[in-house]
Point group: C2
């Protein structure tokens, strides 16, 4: 049985490698992700290596073993199912779900998570649009298209966000956007690639950076 902390380290390694595209992570990168000091990470990596959850050697990069990946994926699955529960059943807002799910993801009960999955109707994406791995650890296909890729004049529907930090989510909501919002791209400013879009009949101008963090179909 893994401790909360061990689970968090495994999850951090999984998230880092998935988000960065790199096959492995460094001590400092993990330290800042987990908000601890590098020395602490080194200690934990040794422990996880002894438990055969990560491949790691002194001064080298870390990656998950098969067993470590299985554990990490399971934690991610729990996290995203709980986020879905909070959003869909308990009327939490978008930006509130993460913090509570960080706690709920560590509850140990395989029955609980399978029942919750069933209760929610086996969702494949969480409220941020991130894919929820199934009970075998398989991910649904990732969203690829981003608001910045939509041609002028075309319409699209928002399905997810790439950045899920609180400030960004607040900004998204302020612009009137949410999951399933319909967006029409009215104009593209050549100078800085900012976009003028229409949401619910209101016009907004958003930066390229913003538009690259909104997934659409």
């Amino acid at each position: 049985m893994l401790s909360f902390t061990e689970e968090n380290y495994l999850k951090a390694i999984l998230k880092f490698t998935m988000e960065s595209g790199k096959p492995n992570a460094g001590t400092n990168e993990l330290a800042s992700h987990l908000d601890v000091k590098p020395a602490t990470v080194t200690d934990m990596l040794k422990k996880l290596r002894d438990k055969k959850l990560v491949d790691y050697e002194k001064y080298g990069k870390v990656s998950l073993t098969k067993s470590g990946k299985k554990h990490a994926t399971e934690v991610l699955r729990k996290h995203r199912l709980w986020e879905t529960f909070l959003y869909e059943k308990l009327e939490f807002t978008w930006d509130e779900v993460h913090e509570v799910a960080e706690q709920l993801e560590h509850i140990q009960s395989s029955k609980l998570i399978e029942k919750l999955d069933k209760f929610l109707g086996h969702p494949t994406f969480d409220p941020h649009g991130d894919p929820i791995p199934n009970s075998k650890g398989e991910f649904s296909v990732e969203h690829k298209k981003v608001l910045a890729d939509v041609a002028v004049g075309k319409s699209c529907k928002m399905v997810a966000v790439k950045d899920s930090t609180t400030p960004f989510l607040h900004y998204v909501m302020k612009v009137g956007l949410g999951l399933s919002s319909k967006i029409k791209v009215l104009a593209l400013q050549e100078y800085d690639n900012s976009l003028t879009i229409e949401v619910n009949g209101t016009q907004h101008t958003v930066s390229q950076k913003f538009a690259e963090n909104i997934y659409v179909v």
Copy 2:
């Protein structure tokens, strides 16, 4: 912010005093309740006293302060709401809910618990029939009548259990009883006060001990 462990000690003191009727608890009693050694309890009591959560002095009994009682009641409220959720929404059985609720009761989020309460329709009793304190910490009136008190020939409805250990709950289920089961008392054996009852058309004979652990109306 209290740790999981501190919360468990406060809850144990509350449960002990409620169940025993006594106004305070001893070190050994708590130790066996919490499954730790008495020395460990002594350490923790000093810590809780420093935090003004319990009234305690060397070689004396422990009781909760106002603040300690508030915390303990809150934990109990969370525990029982989660049990209700697991039983009513996720199809857990009676004897499975406790273990998982032991973990869920420590999740920190006042919003979560108020939303959960609303989602469940503000229940006043959990699946074991124990009262759920409301958000102000007030308990619903306790059930008083027990199967052993029902007169021969009379019928009643089961609303709760006094003993909620797994073996007892299994036995209860085996007899075909559950919450809201209708029970008719057919006969009383003078010799050992055992009762012959009818449940769903089937007759069973149960001991006095059993009958004293079933709450009815």
